[in-house]
């Protein structure tokens, strides 16, 4: 891809999200989301492999359906209330449909089934853009919809925590694991949205930092499978020592940063007399902790089953200045 086209697409991604952030009219917000979708599609099919094309097709269908439903809900709300203002979404049918459309956009359960397969077919860089940048614009709209009852968001959140944990249980492909971890984290964020929106922003910003670090460490060692992860200790030993910290932070263990949003969310849920929801959310995120722990275990605590002297990967162009062993 020529630099001109590549930079046009990246700038379009920026323009789309900025447009949605800056809008108070539903139509302009929808336009920003459409620009985002259209700009990332050529980035996804860059390698022209069958897997990339299939992933892009599935992504296109999911996002196009969700965008059309979002605009329908906004038009319906305009016909009912006469206002296109994002903060004036009062009609119950409209904001329920909008919430479901935005849930499909970001990949919340039960509308999450496109996410693991799409993530599997992409390169790690495009997967990173998909899980971090593409979530910003729909999340901005979710933040601004004023729900009248917390039930829908709590149901979506709990289902996503369950689906994200349970779905990633048996995976060995790292991109699918990252997709399921993304689903679970988005579930935590949406769970607390109707009670305390600042906590949603805390959870979102910590999720962005942790996911970015994890994707970047996988990009540096160029691993996409647990097998290649288990031999990555020979490539960049320092990174292999630090990646378990990122993984355990994603799992939500104190004293790492990932514990902070979970703690605050559980505290807020208990204050709202929803202790059962808090217990269910905490218990089901143990499933995600299982596969994070499995990743750190294969990375650091075990050696690959073959004789290491025979199967060390060649380090012809070291991508990192490591200390002498």
């Amino acid at each position: 891809m020529t630099p001109l086209i590549y930079s046009t697409l990246i700038i379009s991604l920026g323009i789309g999200t900025t447009l949605t952030f800056a809008s108070t009219h539903w139509y302009l917000a929808w336009m920003g989301i459409e620009i985002n979708t259209l700009a990332i599609i050529p980035l996804m099919t860059q390698s022209h492999s069958p897997r990339a094309t299939e992933a892009t097709t599935k992504y296109f269908f999911a996002q196009a359906t969700a965008s059309a439903t979002l605009l329908f809900a906004a038009t319906s709300n305009a016909f009912f209330t006469g206002s296109w203002d994002i903060l004036q979404t009062n009609n119950p049918l409209s904001y329920t449909l909008m919430t479901l459309a935005l849930a499909m956009k970001i990949g919340l359960a039960p509308l999450h089934s496109w996410m693991p397969e799409v993530m599997q077919g992409l390169t790690l860089l495009t997967g990173l853009i998909l899980s971090t940048w593409q979530k910003l614009a729909p999340f901005c709209l979710i933040y601004q919809i004023q729900p009248h009852s917390p039930n829908l968001f709590m149901a979506l959140g709990l289902l996503s925590i369950v689906a994200g944990g349970w779905g990633g249980f048996n995976q060995v492909q790292l991109r699918k694991i990252l997709a399921y971890s993304s689903i679970a984290h988005l579930g935590w964020m949406v769970l607390i949205l109707s009670f305390s929106p600042p906590l949603t922003l805390v959870a979102f910003s910590t999720y962005l930092m942790m996911t970015f670090s994890l994707f970047y460490s996988f990009m540096m060692t160029k691993t996409t499978h647990i097998n290649s992860l288990s031999t990555s200790w020979a490539k960049i030993p320092t990174l292999t020592a630090l990646t378990p910290l990122i993984l355990l932070s994603l799992g939500g263990l104190p004293p790492l940063t990932g514990f902070l949003p979970k703690w605050m969310i559980l505290q807020e849920l208990t204050k709202q007399d929803l202790a059962l929801v808090a217990v269910l959310a905490a218990l089901f995120s143990l499933f995600s902790l299982y596969f994070y722990l499995r990743l750190s275990y294969t990375m650091t605590l075990t050696m690959p089953p073959n004789n290491p002297a025979g199967t060390l990967p060649w380090r012809l162009n070291p991508s990192h200045n490591t200390l002498p062993p």
């Binding site: 094309t53 359906t65 329908f72």
Partner: protein
């Protein structure tokens, strides 16, 4: 709910059902997507007539532009799928399963 609202809502819901239950061909899904956009275009065009306001009179044209871009992207993906998977049936998109 006014008759206009009911009309375009039912058109949208029919298109959405078609998109959700498409089973065989890629192109039928793209057609349902175009049907969704068409129902939204009708809704926005009728907005100006029903509410006697010129505030949002240009919205249908902008919608047309964006839906044309999306249709173009969908058709390009149809061609790409036919090139890599040798047909455009949806059952052949099975490379990325667990």
């Amino acid at each position: 709910m006014t008759p206009t609202h009911f009309a375009f809502s039912s058109a949208f819901m029919l298109g959405l059902a078609g998109l959700a239950f498409h089973r065989t061909h890629f192109l039928s899904a793209l057609l349902c997507l175009e049907g969704l956009m068409l129902s939204l275009f009708i809704a926005l065009s009728l907005w100006t007539l029903q509410f006697n306001t010129m505030n949002s009179a240009s919205l249908p044209m902008i919608l047309l532009a964006f839906s044309a871009c999306e249709a173009g992207a969908g058709l390009a993906l149809l061609v790409a799928t036919t090139r890599t998977h040798s047909n455009s049936r949806l059952q052949s998109l099975n490379l990325l399963q667990c």
